[in-house]
């Protein structure tokens, strides 16, 4: 599925998200709300580096994979959410509703995964039987 409709929907449902970039590991940008493609690439690269740093902080006995993170800063927050091979990084204003933002970002990634339903083929309109015409034989005019 194209990322643009999913990102558009994210903007509609979440007033807290300022910008978002969907990307894959390795830095491939899938979609972005940023106008500048180069900046979207840089954001994806920084987010991946942030993710790598965060993964190193897991507990020594922990085998679990990274799921999501949020960084609270004075000027705003940064979120990174993973769903399979895809990731989304988003920025918000300071003190967002963390749970809600995570939910919206996860939904956006899942929306991307769902394949669009095939559009049903248009069927030719069924031919309606023309109502039987009452054939009236012209009665010969008695007068004529």
């Amino acid at each position: 599925m194209d990322a643009a409709p999913a990102l558009e929907r994210l903007r509609e449902i979440s007033s807290q998200v300022r910008a978002a970039v969907i990307f894959e590991r390795g830095g491939t940008v899938v979609g972005s709300t940023l106008d500048d493609e180069e900046r979207a690439k840089q954001v994806a690269a920084e987010a991946e580096a942030l993710l790598n740093d965060a993964e190193q902080r897991r507990r020594a006995d922990g085998e679990a994979e990274f799921a999501q993170l949020d960084v609270a800063l004075r000027d705003g927050s940064v979120f990174v959410v993973r769903d399979g091979e895809r990731l989304i990084v988003a920025t918000t204003a300071p003190e967002p509703t963390v749970g809600l933002v995570f939910y919206d970002l996860k939904s956006t990634l899942r929306e991307l995964e769902t394949k669009p339903k095939p559009t049903p083929r248009k069927r030719a309109p069924a031919k309606r039987k023309a109502p039987a015409r009452a054939t009236q034989a012209k009665k010969p005019d008695a007068k004529s």
Binding site: V21, Q42, V71, P94, V98
Partner: protein, 67 residues
């Protein structure tokens, strides 16, 4: 008269305690920190300047780039 001044004192004291609590809570919430969640439901919170700083720096860079 005396009971009135005692009541005023108690109310002022309670108000200042409540104000301090709210202020401290807000201050704590504004603290810069990193919360990392893993697939098994575990979470690591980094708030100490030394351990969180490299991640905070990257996050600041992302905020700057994203505008």
């Amino acid at each position: 008269m005396r009971s009135r001044s005692v009541l005023t004192g108690v109310l002022l004291g309670a108000g200042s305690v409540a104000g301090t609590l709210v202020f401290r809570r807000r201050l704590a919430r504004r603290q810069e920190r990193v919360d990392v969640y893993f697939g098994d439901g575990s979470m690591v919170s980094l708030a100490k300047p030394g351990e969180a700083e490299p991640l905070l720096r990257r996050a600041r860079q992302i905020l700057d780039l994203a505008g």
